[in-house]
Symmetry: C2
Subunit: 221 residues, 2 copies
């Protein structure tokens, strides 16, 4: 995983090694969990001696914490689709597309996050209570506005958000199961497109947003 070793400045060395270590750590943590992962294995994947990891990240937990925080930021970025939208067809549709795209390109990160939350979030509980609560409350307001404007059915916005999170992240977290059920092959580009189409169709139609709006090319991305 380590690249060529031509002379570098100290800053470059630091940044590159931190990146190498974080990528290796994300991969190993996602495959083995915090407890099952070992610093030795992360070091092997990174192509560095174990002692070098402890030079950049003093403890296993500090390394893990950094990995989880990086993922958290990726999650939040997907919310942009929501904010700039004029209505549910566009806003929710784009949000589903963005979250499914993250599941496709960043599955390891999604699995680390899922494991962390399933284990009662020992490392990032403060983030759940502050940032996530604020984010959720603000989107709920948007959804409630759309409901009051008659743009979608009056369902509990939380139940809708949970369904979107669950379904989109499922394709990352349970990717192995999906792959097994797909004749042991990863989803093709065409299959991913079909997933996006069906997920948007079921959810949008399910909350009373007409399918015509979905098919509208203005809302394609």
């Amino acid at each position: 995983m380590k690249q060529e070793s031509r002379p570098q400045t100290k800053k470059e060395i630091r940044l590159e090694n931190e990146r190498i270590i974080l990528e290796a750590a994300e991969k190993v943590f996602s495959e083995a969990g915090f407890g099952g992962a070992t610093m030795q294995l992360i070091a092997d994947v990174a192509g560095l001696p174990k002692a070098n990891l402890h030079y950049y990240f003093p403890t296993k937990e500090s390394l893990y914490r950094k990995v989880v925080h990086e993922i958290f930021n990726v999650w939040l970025l997907a919310a942009d689709s929501f904010d700039s939208a004029s209505g549910p067809a566009e806003g929710i549709g784009n949000y589903i597309d963005a979250k499914l795209e993250i599941s496709r390109t960043h599955p390891a990160g999604s699995r680390v996050w899922a494991t962390e939350v399933m284990h009662r979030a020992p490392v990032i509980q403060d983030y759940l209570e502050s940032t996530l609560v604020e984010w959720t409350d603000s989107r709920i307001e948007v959804l409630e506005g759309w409901i009051e404007a008659g743009l979608m059915d009056p369902i509990d916005p939380r139940h809708l958000l949970y369904m979107i999170w669950a379904t989109t992240q499922h394709y990352a977290d349970f990717g192995h199961q999906i792959e097994t059920l797909n004749h042991a092959k990863p989803l093709s580009d065409e299959q991913w497109d079909a997933v996006k189409k069906d997920v948007k169709r079921i959810i949008l139609k399910g909350i009373g947003v007409s399918v015509a709006d979905i098919a509208d090319p203005r809302n394609a991305q």
Copy 2:
């Protein structure tokens, strides 16, 4: 966790201790993952000496395997709702109810399963490839039959199944996150009922099954 110790037959002792150990193991595995769990901690939760665990379950992996297999059977039972149904409103509606009920009463088991699959199913891959594939293929046939009969929209049955699995299991696997977003309180009975109602409503309406059918008291359970 160990109950009173009045005289018992060998058979009773064996059954009771296996049960105590399995329940403790499910709890500990679900909170720490396979790697993070320790036999000592399971022993402490069970209220038995560690050596006693190894008398009933020779290795940590054999204990874990038993826990996962038990959960797998619970999952399969929920499928009964599917088979005895006359159409999608009843079949899918009851299936969603059954799976949400498992998430409510058996969240630890769901989390162990999720962790196992996320880590590429090192222990139960054979089950995925045999039993799960067969189960899925057979339900897909049922769904395709309903589609051909015009009882629901022509969507890929896999995408529907994944959405149901993802959404229902989310309430167990991410229960901690949901609780945090619910003002740090577990969902009340009324909230669980509302979840069941909304999830069924969105999904059934989303696949073109009329809501009137859902409200039909004949389909209530």
